[in-house]
Amino acid sequence: MTDYRKLWSDLGMDLEKHDRLTSALPLIYEEVYLQQPDRPQAMEYFDLVVAEIHSLRIAELVEHRRRGGKVCGAFCVFVPVEIIRAAGAVAVGLCGGSQFWVPDGERVLPRNLCPLIKASVGARLSGTCPYFQSCDLLIGETTCDGKKKAWEVLGEYAPVYVMDLPQMKRPQDLAAWRGEIELFLARIEELTGYRVTPERLAEEIRLQNRLRQALERLYQTRKADPVPISGKDALLVTQVSFYDDPRRFIDKTEVLAAEAEARIASGQGVFPSGAPRILVTGTPMAIPNWKLHHIIETAGAAVVCEETCTGTRFFEHQVDETGRTLEEQLQALAERYLKINCSCFTPNPGRLEDIFRLVEAYRVDGVIYYNLQFCHGYAVEYYAVEKALKARGIPVMKVETDYSEEDTGQLRTRVEAFLEMLR
């Protein structure tokens, strides 16, 4: 039995504060997750991951580092984890999704900044996130102004490397992004002391493609009516994919997808057939942010797809596996990652096309646009999304919120009224 308190203490964590954070989670998880009826059996693994979120996986990271390995933390789906792993390091996602960390973030950041940034910085400052504490290098990117400047603050507490993501998608932007990926590769090689070989990179490209395909397979099952898995459960799986050991994650997700497929074959669902089907689009939902999904699903509708960074934006598009040289592989990586349609790009017509395609494929009745407060890119882009959806007669509603619970009553009213409108 591992002594986790010693392990956390060795990571320089604030144990008392950490106790307060972890004591709240089981209660929330019980209410939001465990009380759902008819959950797939295979969700057991993901329940375990959450129950042991700061222990089992952390012990693996500690062991990896004890043997001289490195850990890199990232905050965005644009960071090519294939390169991190090909150089022998472990990649973990660090986005903060809890209100618990926001006050600590606000010690050094403006209050009118997106909660994801405040929580992420607060998690590091408060010493209560063992993932942060386990990282040898934090990988930032330039997807928004808030993050760009927050890296400078975070840099006072931990080594940070920033990738410069272009904000347009012209040929010269692709070339620039490919250059960034080369620089990134050099930085990671320097960190780990290992050369990235084409063989190792090919292996990691295949592995990450398999991971994306596993998620894709699971999402496919959500196209069925009745839907075999709740939106909350599917969201959790995607959230876990950022932390977990990739091979184990693929295995467990394949098992879950197979179970969901079997449910479809026997007509078994977690919502009655004909329940309203919702697409959530917008900003990411980092663990343990399940607020909107919980409100929607306890109001009787099913979330059937997320067009977010913790959804399709993360796993759609594969990296071309035919590259044999590093040159070809880096080009393939640059091309795949630049296909992600984030609102930081101007213009961003691809996102509208994605939304229309997903509305059709997942047989969506209504779209809920999820906007973390003060995320300006997505807030402004709502104008175009709303106009386009309404022109096609697809109901859409925007919800702007943060991690706190104080607006739950208002959100519930809006969501229920939106569902009344669809029924």
Binding site: T401, E406, D407, Q410, R412, T413, A417, E420, M421
Partner: protein
Amino acid sequence: MTVLGIDIGSRTIATAILNEKGELLAGQVSDSGPRPLERAREMAGNLSSFRRVVATGYGRHGARADFATDLITEIKAHALGARHLFPSCRTVLDIGGQDSKVIRLDEQGRVVDFIMNDRCAAGTGKFLEVMAQGLGLPLEEMVAAASAGDGEITLNSMCTVFAESEVVSLLAAGQPVGAVARAVLNSICDRTQNLLLRLGIEPPVVFTGGVAAIPGLPAYFTRRMGLPDLLVPARPQLVGALGAALYGIKVNKATG
């Protein structure tokens, strides 16, 4: 048997009792107080005398868990209530104690779109109450002072707390009460107009909620916005409760 509609809002609770023909037998409005659910139960009275009790408003889930038979959102309730009182209604503007909303209806009266203010109290009844306090006037006198006043002072703060200090500073700087009252009403009026324009105004527009009950205020809005007349029910605070009760009658009919 009769049906009770009960609208449990943040500031007030309203009830409406209808007979099977949909005629209003009784309507009541009271402050929510510190324990709205208890207050609601008191106001509901003898529950066994109703065939159905439909709750709406912020406290609807609490009421459903406690004594109500059904619940609907205040969006649907206001749509049903406004349409009942004004059968040609296509837009509902509702300004309550803690939120404001605009609801668009199609020709059949179905809700096709709606918009609500964000989480803060700007542009709601609470905003007016706090400003009236700053001005040291009851609500209707504030409206009268604004209608008689002139000048084009603008309140810069949307936030209720900051706007109150702004009102106090303006008065301290010697601005006439009428001019400051105008600034207050113009602020909420412009915010409301923005909400209306974002959804698109399809007349006739019915104005409901506690703010519509302030004498002179609907007329002030109409003048300032340059709108066709806002239709104001005799008891605008009852519209949500009325809509809830109407829903109960509908369910009764459907279930036989």
